[in-house]
């Protein structure tokens, strides 16, 4: 039950979110989304293949092999995060729970990279099952352009969060890889689905988005997480989010709310 005061607050925020939603164009994203679906299937496929290899290596007691497989699986997953949080939130929570995960990538990470043990069969079995389930549903799942833009915007914001504490994958030391794969996923989603339409609607804004993306990519090109200028990263992330939010209007989409629960 939402009381009147909260409703008022929501109205204020909704005004903010929808403020730029005036001159919508009707754009068809059917073909670009088809291309993106292939990318998504490939990414989750890589995550699943890696998870299967991870399972096998862990069962064989091969710690180094299991670690390498975890990293490979993780890459495919992180590239797909534009999609996962918004479209399959339950699976996302099981696969990528944090911080004291009892399932998913981070439960395995703590065991392999933290404790140095390979007794993770329970986790890897569930991980394979969940990724398999996800992959199986991808071919026919409706992929609304609005949801994909929302995912890209939210992920772009998240990339700018402080990693001073070591970041999401601090135990394996692969948080920078997470960020790079996240940005690769954002970049692919934008360039595949939205760039052409935005170029037609507002060439200047399209150039700005591309420049912001390139700036973000350059910042996370640092040799390791410790070398990243946190303030510059945050600035680049926020400016990209703002540019993508402006783009939503030109593309005939709603401006993204930054949390799925508030959409």
């Amino acid at each position: 039950m939402i009381d009147l005061k909260t409703a008022g607050c929501l109205a204020l925020l909704a005004f903010n979110v929808n403020a730029a939603n005036a001159a919508a164009n009707v754009v068809s994203f059917q073909e670009p989304v088809k291309n993106y679906r292939s990318y998504l299937i490939e990414g989750i496929g890589q995550a699943l293949a890696g998870a299967r290899r991870l399972h096998d290596r862990a069962v064989a007691g091969d710690l180094q092999g299991a670690k390498a497989a975890w990293i490979s699986a993780r890459a495919g997953w992180e590239r797909s995060e534009v999609f996962t949080a918004g479209f399959v939130p339950e699976l996302d929570a099981q696969i990528d729970a944090w911080p004291n995960a009892t399932s998913g990538f981070h439960a395995v990470e703590t065991a392999l990279f933290g404790a140095g043990r390979t007794a993770v069969e329970e986790y890897t079995t569930a991980l394979v099952k969940h990724l398999d389930q996800l992959l199986g549903s991808l071919r026919d799942m409706p992929l609304a352009p609005q949801g994909l833009l929302d995912g890209a915007v939210r992920l772009a914001y998240e990339v700018g969060d402080s990693k001073a504490d070591g970041g999401e994958s601090r135990v394996s030391g692969t948080s920078l890889d997470d960020m790079r794969n996240n940005v690769a996923g954002i970049s692919f989603a934008y360039r595949t689905i939205f760039a052409k339409s935005l170029q037609e609607a507002d060439g200047k804004l399209a150039t700005t988005v591309t420049m912001q993306l390139d700036r973000l990519i350059a910042i996370i090109g640092a040799p390791d997480l410790r070398r990243i200028d946190a303030l510059a990263l945050r600035r680049a992330s926020e400016e990209l989010v703002i540019a993508l939010q402006s783009a939503s209007n030109k593309l005939g989409l709603r401006r993204t709310a930054l949390e799925p629960a508030a959409q």
Binding site: N100, D165, G167, E238, A261
Partner: protein, 458 residues
């Protein structure tokens, strides 16, 4: 070296460090990919924070210059290299203008609460190749406490602040305006009021017998050198300092620290070697052959504790306190935007945005397995805070482009959200936030477990 002027210089510091942060669950930096050394402890998750009392707020409100100084003091952007990348600001060590008794950095600290300002981490050029950490002092009442530095090497607070920024933390040369602002901020931080201290620094009111006896001992000349006494250096009528350096048998000349609010300033001595007043009194008894009986020591400790007290030393860290600070920082934008002051607007946007992002993390997202319930409330709180961050960024971009009118409109929107929407949304999400001690402890215990697992295997 002639330690003739022995006095109870360090007698000062003291006590009750144990009360420091009541619910603090220490959370260190984890992993191997952090700008700060792994296992660094910043105590940023403490639920109780030192209370800040400002001189200017007694009569009215903080001026623009003081608010700007407060903002800069809490901005990693004015420091350089590792500090900037690691999110360290002046306020990391001097929490709300006091000390940080739990701060610990491997290879830079020898115990919680001290720090090597001439170590290799933050500015290799300033490295003296000796691990010689000094206690992180409280800045309460700093305007009464010249000279500055643990050894009192600088008469000017402004020179000292510049040395810390540029020399110790490799920051770029600060503008004169920023330097003046930080000095104004520090000079505005008051001691906590202590109703037991009367005119001339004498104890008044309901004073125990032990405290009275302690006060008499404090004034009494030392048996083997009547020219010395505790009060000779810790002058009660002068904020319990004499503005001089002394050798009290701790390895050099160090300035007399104040006793005011010292209950909350542990650890004690220049290097933080003592945890409490008992150890401090014992040191002076031994170093100056004072011949104190057990009861004498207790009485001195009771006196120091009475002098070092202060009203309401800590405040519970909740959304309200965070928003209050953010609102204070925001006043800077009210002046800087119309003036088109790009550097100050950028500094403010980066610093306030950082605070807002940190506040957002107090409302865990749905992937956090340590929190259940309140998903919608947490989501709305997070969304509202993120909207504020982006509104600030739009202000920064508009000012950079010379679009003052757009920046002003965005600022109006920001203030409106801060007043009308955000406090209510945060209040509704508070039961599921890290401001709730139960949620807080569960969250950090989980993180701690991950870190422990990692450490155990290395």
């Amino acid at each position: 070296m002639t330690p003739r002027r022995f006095s109870i210089a360090a007698l000062v510091l003291g006590v009750l460090g144990v009360i420091a942060y009541s619910r603090a669950v220490a959370f260190p930096v984890g992993g191997e990919q952090t700008a700060l050394p792994p296992t660094t402890e910043l105590n940023e998750d403490a639920l109780d924070k030192p209370r800040e009392v400002f001189k200017s707020e007694i009569a009215g409100a903080k001026s623009y210059v003081i608010s700007l100084g407060d903002l800069a003091f809490n901005s990693p952007g004015i420091l350089g290299g590792v500090a900037r990348r690691g999110g360290v600001s002046c306020g990391t060590c001097h929490v709300n203008g006091t000390g940080n008794p739990k701060l610990f950095m491997p290879k830079m600290s020898t115990r919680p609460g001290n720090f090597d300002t001439t170590g290799p981490l933050f500015n290799p050029k300033a490295d003296n190749f000796v691990l010689d950490p000094v206690r992180i002092p409280s800045l309460r009442g700093a305007r009464y406490l010249a000279p500055y530095g643990h050894d009192g090497r600088m008469a000017s607070l402004r020179d000292f602040v510049r040395t810390v920024i540029v020399g110790e933390f490799a920051g770029p040369e600060p503008s004169p305006m920023i330097l003046d602002a930080i000095v104004a901020y520090i000079q505005d931080i008051d001691f906590l009021p202590n109703p037991s201290l009367g005119p001339g620094g004498r104890l008044i009111g309901r004073i125990s017998e032990s405290e009275r006896r302690g006060e008499a001992l404090f004034m009494k000349p030392f048996p083997h050198d009547p020219s010395l006494s505790c009060a000779g250096c810790h002058i009660p009528s002068g904020a319990f300092v004499d503005h001089r350096q002394h050798n009290v048998g701790s390895g050099g000349l160090f300035k007399t620290p104040t006793l005011r609010n010292a209950d909350f300033n542990a650890p004690y001595f220049h290097d933080g070697r003592f945890d409490n007043f008992d150890q401090v009194v014992e040191h002076f008894d031994r170093a100056f052959d004072l011949g104190l009986a057990t009861q004498d020591r207790r009485d001195l400790v009771a006196y120091l504790t009475a002098v070092g007290d202060g009203m309401q030393p800590y405040e519970h860290e909740g959304a309200g306190a965070s928003l209050k600070e953010i609102n204070s920082f925001t006043t800077v934008l009210g002046t800087a935007i119309p003036a088109g002051d790009k550097p100050v607007v950028s500094l403010a946007v980066d610093t306030i945005g950082n605070e807002l992002r940190e506040l957002t993390e107090r409302y865990p997202d749905r992937k956090d397995t340590t929190v259940s319930g309140g998903e919608q409330q947490r989501g709305l709180a997070r969304m509202a805070l993120k909207e504020l961050v982006l509104t600030l960024r739009r202000i920064d971009m508009a000012v950079t482009d010379g679009r003052t009118r757009d920046a002003t409109a965005e600022f109006k929107n920001f203030r409106y959200l801060m007043v009308a929407a955000v406090p209510a949304l945060l209040a509704r999400a508070e039961p599921w936030s890290l401001f709730n001690p139960t949620v807080h402890d569960a969250h950090y215990a989980a993180l701690w477990q991950v870190i422990q697992t990692t450490r155990a295997s290395r």
